[in-house]
Amino acid sequence: MKALSQKRRHPLAAVALLLMGLLVTGGLYAAASSVNEAQAASAYSASDVEEGNKLFLANCATCHGLNAEGTDSGPSLIGVGAASVDFQVGTGRMPMQMQGPQAQAKPVQFDEEQTRQLAAYVASLAPGPAVPEAEWLDASLGNSAEGGEIFRVNCAMCHNAVGAGGALTRGKFAPSLGGVSEKHIYEAMATGPQNMPVFNDSNITPEDKRDVITFLKEVEANGSPGGAQLGSLGPVSEGLFVWTAGLGIIIAFTIWLTSRPS
């Protein structure tokens, strides 16, 4: 104890203290934030990983590298987790059709089993977000009002108030969320595909993610109480409608009225 108090005025004491503080908080944070991210990693068997590796070498390695370490044409997949693979491959975004501002959804190329094997292989490389458990995907367990608030604050600026989608810069865009499965909505939030930010579990908890899913599914199921919703695009489609259909019908009537002999 004496030795410690004697050296407390040593020039490097402050540095040592800072280093210690950083290590402690960093370690605690890492422990806390990885708690619910390592969920279902153990569900994959060694043969899944092996089959996944074969599929990966045949279909993905050209861009992502032989060991998924990334190349100039594609990012490293070490640590992106099974959820990322399940989303990208499960929605048809990967394998990518062509280089562009962002990967577009297209018909899915791998079946569920193959997708699972690919996910197993990528998950075996390093820990990362896992495919979510079924309990976080059950829309009936969530609260749509809270999900709506989370959605408006975190998602609506790109995806539009009811998830109709929207534009980003230089050809990138936030896609429409209509018809997207619960699992893929969850995985998108957890992994941040394309230009989307990552909403990890300490940012939006799994319960909150489930609320967002509930909100989106409920709004979709509710339909439009006021009649045809014109794409849910807001005032632009309304204005377009009134100038084309609205005025068009009125003009047809004016022509009819003034062409009638009195």
Partner: protein, 556 residues
């Protein structure tokens, strides 16, 4: 006074009531004046009526809405029946607007009826103004009525915007925030005006109540007043009409209000009401439940104003904040510190004011250039005034570029192009579009005039090819009938009026400018066919015409 000069004894009960009213307010004079007012029949004359009728629908549906809407910004928690908002904190205004949509019978229909007719109202006002502009109906003596119409357009936009802001949902709050930003950009007084308007810092707790007062009282009252002035002037000036046999500058040919036009117009009111009603029943508008309560932090994608404010939003979107290293935030050093001039907001605002100002001033501009001080009651076909049509199309293109810019994000997503490219193209079109529009429209107008001239002088191409005994082929031309001929020949075409010297023999600078503008406008012109030209052409073509006529007889 003492002797009963009134010998008329009405026989029926209706007659007695009418006579009672007439003796006290002199209604028969008014009925005579209004009832015998003549309206010419043409479809393009009916947009003013559409505007009036949609305004009546607005008054009726708006009255219903006031019964249930509470413009309070007090905080409350949603307890209505829309599940995705249950338990969410919101203002009373938004709560009652949601109640109108979900818990009051017929409320959603009335909201949609109100909103759709508002959109159609401003659209009808705009199309009406375009009709008046392109046909030259604003010329003497109707310049002041053009100004009243312009004021009505501005009032209509103000009525629309104040209404758009009332439900206090996310969309309307974002719109108000932009207005707040524009107000704050006004030099020196901006922040004060904003603070007075919102009762302190944005959003405060006062603005919805204040906008409500403007929306349901002040602005509608001003619109009604302006409509009264507008219609009064229409009666005083008489209606304009298209040129035609028997239709001159001194008369109006058409049907009187009573009984023909009153019946027609009354029926038309119900048609408009029916059309708007059907649209309101089948198409949703402003689904406020989707947007959620106003909160200053989130802005959702697809946040746009209603269409009539779109051009203002577009101007703001087009204006760059930086050009290379040049910033449009000008920092002006004063002894008490730096003040910022937000040119990125001020310039777009000035563009809007400039376009509206040009619209108001046009009748005087045209009068100044042409020095035409005569009254005009006959309308121009747009092709017969190529300069005006060109200017009008330039204005429309300018407006449409701003309009398109307001939906740049939706253009990007729906046509799969980059948002940045849309903005660059629209910025280019902002400068080039009106110029190209003017040139193209004027060229088309002149070409149509030349075609008309050709038809008048040489007849219509009949599509029948004849072979002469010598073997030459020619197409037979048929003379058009006299009505058509009248329509194609009776117009005026201004000529270049060079700068005129005043009495002292001096040519002023403004007169020189006027001469230049006149030359620019009227250098290219197509003169109307004169009687001499027509007779010359007819005598020259006499042989063919007779031949054509005899063939026709044979054909029949």
């Amino acid at each position: 006074m003492s002797t009963p000069s009134h010998q008329y004894r009405p026989a029926t009960r209706t007659g007695r009531i009418a006579d009672f009213v007439d003796q006290r307010v002199g209604a028969s004079g008014m009925v005579k004046e209004f009832g015998r007012k003549i309206f010419p029949d043409h479809w393009s004359f009916m947009f003013g009526e559409v505007a009036l009728y949609t305004f009546v629908i607005l008054l009726i549906s708006g009255t219903f809405l006031t019964l249930f809407f509470d413009p309070s910004m007090a905080h409350t928690t949603y307890t209505g029946s829309y599940d995705p908002l249950k338990g969410v904190g919101m203002s009373v205004a938004y709560h009652t607007a949601l109640d109108l949509s979900f818990d009051i019978r017929g409320g959603l229909f009335m909201r949609q009826l109100h909103h759709w007719s508002a959109l159609l109202f401003v659209a009808a006002v705009s199309v009406h103004m375009l009709r008046v502009f392109f046909t030259g109906a604003f010329r003497k003596p109707r310049e002041l009525n053009w100004v009243v119409g312009g004021v009505l357009l501005v009032l209509a936009m103000a009525a629309g915007f104040t209404g758009y802001s009332l439900p206090d949902d996310l969309l309307s709050g974002n719109g108000l925030r932009i207005i707040d930003g524009i107000i704050k950009a006004i030099p020196v007084v901006g922040t004060y005006v904003s603070a007075f308007m919102f009762g302190g810092e944005f959003p405060g707790t006062a603005i919805v109540g204040r906008l409500y007062m403007l929306h349901i009282m002040l602005i509608p009252a001003l619109i009604l007043l302006m409509v009264a002035v507008h219609l009064f002037m229409v009666v005083v000036h008489k209606h304009t009409q298209w040129a035609g046999p028997g239709r001159t500058e001194d008369n109006v040919v058409g049907f009187p209000v009573g009984p023909v036009y009153a019946a027609k117009a009354g029926g038309f009111f119900f048609i408009v009401y029916g059309v708007v009603g059907l649209i309101s029943g089948f198409f949703t508008i402003n689904p406020i439940w989707n947007y959620g309560p106003y909160d200053p932090s989130p802005v959702s994608a697809g946040t746009q104003p209603d269409w009539y404010i779109g051009w203002a939003d577009g101007a703001l979107r087009l204006m760059p904040g930086m050009l290379g290293d040049f910033s449009f935030d000008w920092i002006i050093p004063f002894p008490w510190g730096d003040n910022t001039l937000a040119m990125g907001v001020l310039v777009p605002a000035l563009v809007l004011v400039g376009l509206l100002g040009a619209m108001f001033a046009w009748p005087w501009v045209e009068r100044w250039v042409t020095k035409d001080d005569r009254e005009h009651h006959l309308l121009d076909r747009p092709r017969n005034a190529p300069f005006r049509t060109g200017v009008g199309v330039a204005g429309v293109v300018f407006y449409c570029v701003l309009w398109a810019a307001a939906s740049s994000d939706l253009i990007a997503t729906h046509f799969h192009v980059a948002l940045n490219d849309v903005t660059y193209w629209l910025r280019t079109l902002f400068f080039l579009g009106p110029i190209l529009g003017f040139i193209v429209a004027r060229r088309i107008a002149l070409a149509l005039q030349r075609k008309d001239r050709e038809i008048v002088l040489h007849g219509r191409e009949a599509g029948i090819i004849e072979m002469s005994p010598e073997g030459a082929f020619s197409e037979r031309h048929e003379q058009i009938d006299d009505y058509k001929l009248y329509k194609l020949t009776s117009f005026e075409s201004y000529e270049v009026l060079p700068p005129q010297a005043d009495r002292a023999g001096h040519v002023s600078r403004s007169e020189k400018l006027r001469g230049k503008v006149s030359k620019f406008f009227f250098e290219d012109r197509v003169a109307p066919v004169t009687r001499a030209e027509l007779e010359e052409a007819r005598s020259h073509h006499g042989h063919h015409a007779v031949a054509a006529g005899s063939h026709e007889e044979l054909g029949q």
